[in-house]
Symmetry: C2
């Protein structure tokens, strides 16, 4: 993992290191505390607020088989109090200090954050450091929270046919790698999670050396360092984190299809997802090329899919493409569309296939590449100006095997992507045997 290597170097220097990469006056400091906890500081003093985040290098892909949903369940339970703070006190203290906070879990990381007046940063650190080691769980507060999580799954997944289809597509995409299971967990497994499971997961994954502190906003790296050492630096590691090696997904050999018939679906839809490298797991410009290709194919009304299916042929209500490259081990590249009323979803799929076939045969034009590259650069300017977005980018990078520097590397590298890079990425990734096609139908079309 590149991030770790750089961090070790930084530790050896025993000093604050300001990365020599700057963009839009964004400065990023990245150092480690003596106990191995990594720290990123992104100063910005336009407003007297800070974004304080603690990220753990653990997510649903690190759960053992049969315990899906555990990383996310623990995220909920982290608000249940510690040996020093009663349940609810964490939220109450943030609230009465005018802040707001929350948390999120993905397959690769679990993160906790608060946005608050910069003079309250110390309190946030005190609270997060406390719950990094002193979590107290009782059956009285664990069991009701399990109901909350189950309800969350019902609302977000089980009652949403598109989400259900997405879950089935992921399950069909991955045969061995744990990205095939949902972050929220299978209901059958979530329902059986226990306090003991949560405490074991907490003890196995929550320790300073497995965490990343990100502070963005109205602070200096020096201020953060003093506070971080006071609150996080004094914590002892309860274990030594090992390299995060998930079992690799075998090379895909067979095209897969998933058809979900669900009367609750608003309209039919089709989605094709190809297994692709992620930024962290790719070499050269392949990930950037896929990012730009997704824009050329399917971002906005000027994109190939939209122009062909929605404007010219008038068969689709929408048509788009995506590249998802932020996971640690692999990503997906895909296209999707929904037919206009009265149009068969198969016609939309065939039209998407035709657009892809033309792309594979003829490549993209320099004009298209320039257009999406300029758009991407403009979007980057906007993103880099957003304190919370920057903090999040840093956290994602440092918990998925990338360096803090990589955030800015992309701004440089995007200018180097060529038509050949895009052609090569398309030829390697847009191959049916790498794909899962998901079809959502409100009503049965063919059935036994």
């Amino acid at each position: 993992m590149r991030a770790v290597k750089i961090a070790v170097l930084q530790l050896a220097l025993i000093m604050l290191m300001v990365l020599p990469v700057r963009a839009l006056d964004v400065e990023i400091s990245n150092f480690k505390l003596a106990n191995g906890m990594e720290v990123v500081v992104i100063p910005n003093n336009r407003a007297p607020v800070v974004t304080h985040m603690v990220w753990y290098r653990v997510g649903s892909a690190d759960e053992v088989s049969g315990k899906s949903g555990l990383a996310h369940f623990l995220e909920h339970l982290m608000f249940k109090g510690t040996s020093k703070r009663a349940p609810g006190e964490f939220d109450r203290l943030i609230d009465i200090n005018g802040g707001e906070g929350n948390a999120f879990t993905t397959s690769d990381y679990t993160a906790y954050f608060q946005r608050i007046a910069s003079d309250r940063l110390e309190l946030m650190m005190e609270l997060e450091a406390d719950r990094m080691q002193n979590l107290v769980l009782t059956d009285e507060n664990v069991l009701p929270e399990l109901d909350v999580v189950r309800e969350e799954r019902r609302e977000r997944t089980d009652n949403d046919p598109s989400a259900l289809l997405g879950e089935q597509i992921d399950a069909a995409m991955y045969t061995a790698h744990p990205y095939g299971k949902p972050v929220i967990g299978w209901m059958s497994e979530v329902a059986k999670l226990t306090r003991a499971d949560a405490m074991a997961f907490y003890r196995a994954h929550y320790t300073p050396a497995n965490a990343v502190l990100v502070v963005a906003g109205d602070v200096t790296p020096e201020q953060v360092k003093v506070l971080a050492e006071k609150y996080y630096g004094v914590l002892k590691n309860s274990f030594t984190p090992q390299p995060r090696v998930r079992t690799p997904e075998p090379d895909p050999i067979a095209a897969r299809r998933v058809t979900l018939i669900d009367a609750r679906a608003a309209s039919p839809a089709v989605q094709r997802s190809y297994l692709a490298p992620s930024y962290s797991a790719s070499t050269g410009h392949e990930a950037l090329a896929l990012d730009l290709l997704a824009d050329i194919l399917g971002s906005g009304t000027q994109s190939r899919l939209y122009k062909s299916l929605v404007i010219d042929q008038k068969i689709a209500a929408y048509a788009a493409a995506w590249y998802s490259g932020d996971q640690m081990d692999s990503g997906t590249f895909g296209v999707y569309g929904a037919p206009n009323p009265g149009v068969d979803v198969a016609k939309v799929e065939a039209a998407m296939d035709a657009v892809l076939a033309d792309l594979l045969k003829n490549g993209v034009t320099q004009q298209e590449l320039d257009r999406v590259r300029n758009q991407a650069i403009a979007e980057r300017v906007y993103t880099l100006d957003n304190q919370a977005a920057l903090a999040r980018m840093a956290g994602v990078a440092l918990t998925t095997g990338l360096s803090a520097r990589s955030i800015f590397d992309r701004d440089v590298e995007i200018g180097k992507v060529t038509l050949d890079d895009i052609r090569a990425a398309a030829a390697r990734i847009i191959v049916l045997k790498r794909s899962v096609t998901g079809v959502l139908l409100p009503e049965p079309q063919t059935l036994n």
Copy 2:
């Protein structure tokens, strides 16, 4: 697990128990040694030979994520010698005593067996008891065996398009339950298995209380008991087996399809597999009804699929159906067929669908049920007359949650299966959302 409950009862009686079920003069004794090792004896003195089997209640579905193939790899390594016997001596002793032996691994069990003159039974027990606790593995004999297993995978799976498709179908069928991974293991995971992995698995799963001894042939239960106590009864358990609870597979919600294009395929083929209960995991007569229904649909030239697709429509080279119900947690029900040269595989699939639709609408006839039931009973007579087959049935039963008695229960219960049982089982199981359809194509038909 029913088998365990009965066994505990038998232990309490502290005596040999001959089950009060007899069929075709088959007698089966089932008892436990003091250390919890279960014993089944099936006497038959027509020839002076015995089949000696030791079954462990562990298979590939008990491996942790990322270690697929480990149960099977250990099976290979069990022939590598012990603290008392040099590598190769096991096989050599069987050989010079005129016997033959082998082993096999499935998702639910691992079994070792020898067929040998009945006066050599004691030696077999000595050898099996020795390697149950004294296995010695060295890098020198583990690493070459890993090459053997990898070559086995290449030969049996990677060079066989039908096997590859089957593997992909299983992977698509199971989203959470470990039956989705191949017994031989994913090559990417097999290649990384180590001596330490094998020893850990051995220590975690091989102990008398987790094993079943089955002896069939020219012996009496009393003889077996004396020898079993001498060799197996003296072994101390290194751990206490826990209930085998695998994470349940969520109810299927979406039909899946897998298309494998492989130039090595002899001809196109289509296979539809429905997730179904197994004998162990079913209630009432559902498993038996599915067994009989598979025969009605697709066993022999009188079956519906064969008559319709091969004889009447002349579109298929073959067409058949199966029910696979011997796994512990779930099984599959399915149909398959291959088009005649020049016929589109889609036409064969549509014809299979039509046969299934007719079945679901109109059920089966009493005449069909009587025909396949009589066939099944005749086959049972043949099977129960086979010493090795009987031993295997007993081992499967006792390692998949069934009782020894269940072997004979089926002979009684099969007479009670009604047309309504078959109609109900078909209606519940033959539902597209429970299915994975696998298509094998020698050449691309539609591609981007």
